[in-house]
């Protein structure tokens, strides 16, 4: 009992700096306890609940930087699609949403929205919205969408607490809740306004894992059922559910191999797998993939293996003869493996079981995408992770992780095996792709929490037992009895108590550093909406570049409602959501050829591009240009990807044509094709007349730091329709064909 209270103490220090007051109040428990007339257990509960409440609130408010600094708005690219669909869902109802054919994107192909998205996020937000409306709060759907991610981050802390409690003890649970509340790796995808699938998916992921571990620990059908529903929610929310459906069989497999197979596992796995699979099939986007796709076959294999195992167990029970059983085992295993292999082979050969997708391959082999799928490789968040971003996103968790693994191995159980496997696999994936740091974050937090909790518990026990022995000399309960006996064993170590105190202070210092680091990262790096750009002005004041919205709103107001806009796919979602105009390609990169066509148009000469644009009914072309402001993620810097993706489908486009000695440049030394392709012309049209920086020649590109090579750009088939105030977005109108006479 006392041990538990110690753990509570330790957590407090992790969550915030008021730890010392709690600490001091707790060093004299006898006095305060009697006067308050609360039993120790009640007091513990009170403190635990209040800490959890604080963590819950903290997790929410730390994500509000962007709202305070900018405004309540949707961030980035994908969230705009989610927002648009959510608005549609709330306005038109679920069935309309489910059957929605969107003709505003992928012109002229269109997109079946209901069948090509994970509806979990939208349905969740719409549900929250209707509940709030039912309670008669006249909120706007945008506010609900903006705050969905922080709300689910708060809920994740609660799940983390229970998970930690299940893995280790309630102390570890509290530390885990506190760590995950402010961990930058998670905050990066869950700040207010970042209305993306990941926001709710991490909650669903952790919930599913927690419920599954609980089911394995208890062997209860109810928990397994709950876990299946958690899995269903996860499937409805994010494509990352594939991680669950592969990790859980892997875990079951490991338990089988290590001889930890039990009835509990059998119940938990079978119930979760079968029900989870049936539920997941209800999501149209997933459909029959659970039985047809290569990525899901591991789970099915383990399922059958589990049955074989159970069968063997039963036979073993019936046959008391070991020799006979050995023979039977051999035959059965051979048969089972043989049948499995044949089934898989036939399935794959006949095309019933689809092979692994490129995305899945690129996870297993980081170099795969670069060679085969440039469209995946072109996304910055799909790049392999740099060490610095690990440090940036995890900070001390990076050091605590191995320590936590040590503790896990020291007290090995079904649950700790699970978290170790989750931690190790997700760390691998986090190394492969930057965005998957997100998946690793809960595991990092949980394992680190175990390390923190266990260390601090041991240290405080050292400190307290000594003082207790000195002061009261009495022992209460078995735990402190053990501790004191342990302490008496360790009496021989010199400066033990001081050393423990020093180590405690060190731990607090580290945790404080973690808190400040997280706050700093959140406020500096992860709270920018990326729609509105901010920079420091000459006098230290904040300058806002609101060019994106300027352009999108211009499109929305001043172009015909059926105008088709061609742009690189990055801006597709934003154009449809904010500009309310039809786009050729967007961020749902489902049709590589279509994107390649746009890439080809952008990299062709104007007259060739005009033919392509005419064939696609393009009315306006939108390019993003950072040469005036020094905004580096513009279309010129992305241009090589357009060339690559275009060239991947249309061999007319050759990357070397745009390079000079393998070097990409836009100045006088640039390749002639580069200087005259559509993208170059549209980006730099009349830029040569503009003086961007004092002391530099006109036409000085600030994003690339060079004077441009082609200053005399004439457009024949297009005309400038609009350019934003900082030139970041430029929109051109495609002229109608000339009259023949």
């Amino acid at each position: 009992m006392v041990g538990k209270m110690e753990a509570v103490n330790g957590v407090k220090s992790g969550s915030n700096s008021t730890a010392s007051t709690f600490q001091s109040a707790f060093f004299k428990p006898d006095l305060s306890l009697k006067s308050l007339k609360l039993k120790t257990k009640q007091q513990e509960l009170l403190i635990r609940v209040s800490i959890l409440t604080l963590v819950y609130i903290l997790a929410f408010i730390t994500r509000l930087f962007s709202v305070l600094r900018y405004e309540s708005m949707i961030h980035e690219f994908d969230p705009y699609f989610n927002y648009r669909t959510t608005v549609f869902l709330t306005e038109k109802g679920f069935y309309e949403f489910w059957n929605w054919f969107d003709s505003e994107s992928w012109y002229p192909l269109g997109r079946i929205i209901g069948g090509t998205l994970y509806p979990g996020l939208m349905v969740t937000a719409a549900l929250i919205y209707s509940i709030i409306r039912f309670l008669r709060f006249a909120v706007h759907i945008r506010e609900v969408c903006v705050l969905t991610a922080p709300f689910f981050a708060s809920n994740t802390t609660i799940v983390a607490y229970f998970f930690g409690k299940e893995l280790w003890d309630s102390g570890a649970g509290l530390v885990a809740a506190a760590l995950i509340a402010i961990c930058p790796g998670y905050i990066s995808r869950s700040v207010a306004g970042s209305y993306d699938n990941e926001g709710v998916a991490i909650f669903a992921l952790l919930l599913t894992f927690y419920l599954f571990v609980k089911a394995v620990n208890t062997g209860s059908l109810a928990w397994a059922l709950a876990s299946a529903f958690g899995y269903f929610y996860m499937v409805s929310a994010w494509g990352g559910y594939v991680f669950i459906i592969n990790l859980i069989p892997l875990y079951a497999m490991v338990l089988l191999i290590t001889g930890r197979y039990s009835m509990r596992l059998y119940v938990a796995y079978n119930c979760m797998y079968i029900l989870g699979m049936l539920l997941a099939m209800q999501i149209r986007f997933v459909g029959f993939q659970h039985v047809q796709s290569g990525e899901h076959m591991a789970a099915m294999g383990v399922f059958f293996l589990m049955q074989v195992f159970y069968f063997l167990d039963w036979v073993k029970h019936l046959l008391s003869d070991t020799k006979l059983f050995q023979a039977f085992l051999r035959i059965t295993v051979t048969c089972a493996v043989g049948v499995g292999a044949i089934a898989l082979g036939v399935g794959t050969a006949s095309g019933y079981i689809s092979p692994w997708t490129g995305r899945f391959y690129s996870l297993l082999d980081p170099t795969y995408a670069k060679d085969h799928i440039p469209i995946i490789a072109s996304v910055s968040e799909h790049q392999p992770t740099a060490w610095s971003s690990f440090m940036f996103d995890f900070h001390i968790l990076l050091f605590l992780f191995p320590a936590g693994l040590y503790f896990c191995f020291k007290r090995l159980s079904d649950a700790t095996i699970f978290i170790v496997m989750y931690g190790l696999t997700s760390m691998y994936f986090a190394g492969v792709m930057v965005r998957l740091i997100l998946v690793a974050t809960p595991a990092m937090c949980l394992i680190s929490a175990i390390a923190v909790s266990a260390t601090i518990k041991n240290l405080t026990q050292l400190v307290r037992t000594k003082s207790k022995v000195a002061h009261t000399g009495s022992t209460k309960g078995t735990t402190s009895g053990k501790a004191s006996s342990k302490a008496s064993l360790d009496q021989s170590l010199p400066f033990q108590r001081n050393g423990a105190i020093a180590l405690l202070i060190g731990a607090f210092y580290l945790l404080c550093k973690y808190a400040t680091h997280c706050t700093w990262v959140t406020s500096e790096a992860y709270s920018s909406p990326s729609i509105v750009l901010a920079a420091r002005g000459a006098y230290g004041n904040r300058v806002i570049f609101d060019d994106y919205r300027e352009a999108y709103f211009w499109l929305r107001q001043n172009t015909p409602p059926d105008a088709k806009v061609m742009s690189w796919w990055d801006y597709g979602y934003q154009i449809t959501a904010m500009g309310n105009r039809t786009v050729i390609v967007d961020n749902n990169t489902w049709n590589n050829t279509h994107i390649a066509t746009v890439g080809r148009a952008m990299s062709s000469y104007e007259d060739e591009a005009y033919e392509i644009m005419r064939s696609l009914d393009v009315d306006y072309v939108l390019v993003v240009f950072g040469g005036v402001t020094g905004y580096s993620s513009d279309d010129i810097n992305k241009f090589l990807w357009m060339v690559r993706i275009g060239g991947g489908v249309f061999p007319v486009i050759k990357e070397p044509d745009y390079l000079v000695n393998g070097e990409y440049r836009v100045d006088k030394g640039a390749a002639p094709k580069m200087l005259n392709c559509l993208m170059y012309k549209l980006s730099y049209y009349r830029f040569g007349e503009l003086q961007t920086e004092y002391g530099k020649p006109p036409g000085y590109d600030r994003a690339r730091g060079v004077e441009i090579g082609n200053k005399d750009i004439k457009l024949e088939y297009l005309e400038e329709a609009f350019t934003t105030s900082n030139w970041i977005v430029r929109i051109y109108k495609v002229k109608p064909p000339n009259n023949r006479w």
């Binding site: 008669r136 709060f137 509105v532 929305r556 107001q557 009349r686 005309e719 609009f722 030139w727």
Partner: protein, 552 residues
């Protein structure tokens, strides 16, 4: 120009019309202000009666094509002869359709406060405001072009009366004048064109003039403006204004070059406007300006609100946005005699914005009843309900709609809930009367005189309370000008009710007394028969009056 030909036909048509009355305009002085997109014509008319019969109305004539753009018309009357003497008061104006007039003309009749006798004269000041009367010509211009507009009117004052002496001056913005029609006696002084003086023109004289000039003032037109004024119990009036703006000048064609616009915005974008200034009421707070996709970060709030759309507005370009602000409730909501009224401005706070269609929604707190609106000009009205924070049944919304709104319409209007309270009190009195009657019936059944007397005493007290409540309400009605037409009815209602009350009491006493004296049923009936008749008649009258007030 197509319709000049039409005008010519009109001219022929109207020349054959007989003289309407014996009025003569002895002097007409017109000033046309073309410095903004709104055309303001101020005319000073000196009206003289040359006939024998006193005349009580003066007709103003407008060609139909002009009249459809007429946004605002006010005629005020100056007593005394010299300028600046006497007080001016605006006169009621209404559309009339006099017999035998050409169909292409629309007439407005100004009712004079008192008949104009033989030989008498008075001076009328007429302000007419037209929207959409400056036609861009050419209709499409490039970014570098200046915007030229055409204005058409008559050089002679179009009137059903004979005009003795008249002059016209057209005030133009300080810019180039492309061309203008020259009549005799035409001269330009600076940016002003003067026509006249002309003498002795017969009724319906019309000589078209056309002025073609440069006009780069913002042609900001709100195709629709929805103003929502929400009154909160918590001391706040929240105003939200949804604008749908268009630059209604010459359409821009060809390229828009940001480079040119940045380098010389005054030249390469002269016809565009960058921002609009909204003059918010004093003590406005919590101002915001947003559109469908977020804050309009280009706009600013200094001492006044400067709305700068996300992009410069060229001809034909549109934008839409909404602004919101809070106002302290005590500045706009007044209480008098137990009911409250809101007094707030009608139009939009922006200078020189023409509103094609203005909808004002006044959201009253949940549970408000008996709403009445009084506006200084004709508006279309209806009611809606709006569900907002923590509402169960929704808030009543009074909606006013008006087309063609100019800054001149920026006047106060009132929303109140006064008269209905009188109605309420009278209804309650009547229900007490019913109770009294019921007690009498009980008496005839049970013969319990004491219970009957107790019921009467209670009713007496209640009636006194109610009449006390009624007094301040009546006082308010008497003092408020808006209630003028309804006041006599209300007073009649109160008087009738009082009479009814007395009669009923009398009857009650009689019956109770008779029971005490143990008179026979027949005898009692005889005694109250005459009273009963009166009571029934009075009750009928009171009910009728209540219905009448209800309808108002």
């Amino acid at each position: 120009m197509g319709f000049r030909f039409d005008l010519f036909i009109v001219l022929i048509a109207i020349l054959s019309v007989p003289v309407l009355s014996d009025l003569i305009l002895s002097k007409v002085d017109r000033r046309i202000d073309l410095t903004s997109q709104v055309v303001r014509i101020t005319s000073t008319l000196k009206v003289e009666n040359s006939g024998n019969d006193p005349v009580s109305e003066v007709l103003l004539a407008f060609p139909e094509h002009q009249e459809k753009n007429l946004a605002y018309l006010t005629a005020s009357f100056r007593e005394g002869k010299g300028k600046g003497k006497g007080s001016t008061s605006s006169l009621p104006v209404e559309v009339v359709h006099p017999q035998g007039m050409p169909p292409a003309l629309v007439f407005y009749s100004v009712s004079l406060p008192k008949g104009l006798g033989k030989g008498e004269s008075l001076t009328l000041d007429v302000l007419v405001v037209f929207t959409h009367s400056l036609k861009p010509f050419p209709k499409e211009i490039t970014q570098a072009d200046f915007q030229l507009v055409v204005f058409q009117d008559s050089g002679h004052y179009l009137s059903p009366y004979e005009v003795k002496f008249q002059s016209l001056s057209v005030k133009l913005p300080d810019a180039r004048i492309e061309s203008y029609t020259r009549l005799e006696n035409t001269k330009t002084v600076g940016s002003e064109i003067k026509y006249g003086p002309y003498e002795n023109h017969p009724p319906f004289s019309y000589s078209p003039i056309v002025v073609h000039f440069e006009q780069n003032q913002p042609f900001a037109v709100a195709e629709q403006l929805v103003r929502e004024i929400e009154i909160s119990h918590w001391g706040n009036v929240q105003v939200t204004e949804h604008y749908k703006l268009i630059h209604a000048g010459a359409q821009s064609k060809g390229e828009f070059s940001r480079l040119d616009y940045q380098a010389r915005p005054q030249v390469r974008g002269a016809s565009a406007f960058r921002h609009l200034v909204a003059k918010l009421p004093p003590r406005a707070h919590s101002v915001y300006f947003r559109d469908e996709i977020g804050n309009i970060s280009t706009s600013h709030l200094w001492t006044e609100l400067e709305i700068e759309p996300r992009y410069p507005m060229f001809g034909g370009w549109r934008t839409s946005f909404f602004i919101g602000y809070g106002l302290p409730l005590q500045d706009f909501l007044f209480e008098s005699g137990g009911k409250r009224f809101l007094n707030i401005t009608f139009g939009c706070p922006m200078n020189e914005v023409v509103i094609d269609n203005l909808i004002v929604k006044v959201v009253l707190p949940e549970g408000s009843r008996d709403i009445s609106v009084s506006a200084p000009f004709a508006v279309k009205q209806w009611q809606e309900t709006k569900l907002s924070h923590l509402d169960i049944v929704g808030r009543p919304v009074a909606v006013l709609e008006k087309t063609n709104v100019v800054p001149e319409h920026n006047q106060h209007f009132q929303i109140q809930a006064a008269i209905q309270q009188v109605h309420d009190i009278i209804s309650r009195c009547l229900s007490i009367h019913d109770k009294l009657e019921a007690s009498l019936r009980d008496l005839s059944r049970t013969g319990d005189v004491q219970a009957c007397k107790a019921a009467r005493k209670a009713s007496d007290g209640q009636l006194k309370e109610l009449s006390k409540e009624l007094r301040p309400l009546l006082a308010f009605l008497q003092s408020s000008p808006q209630a003028a037409q309804i006041l006599p009815k209300v007073e009649e209602l109160v008087a009738k009710e009082r009479e009814l009350q007395e009669k009923l009491m009398l009857k009650h006493t009689t019956v109770a007394d008779s029971y005490e004296k143990k008179s026979g049923g027949k005898e009692i009936e005889n005694r109250i028969a005459s009273q009963q008749q009166k009571i029934v008649a009075l009750r009928q009258e009171v009910d009728d009056l209540l219905d009448y007030i209800d309808e108002i």
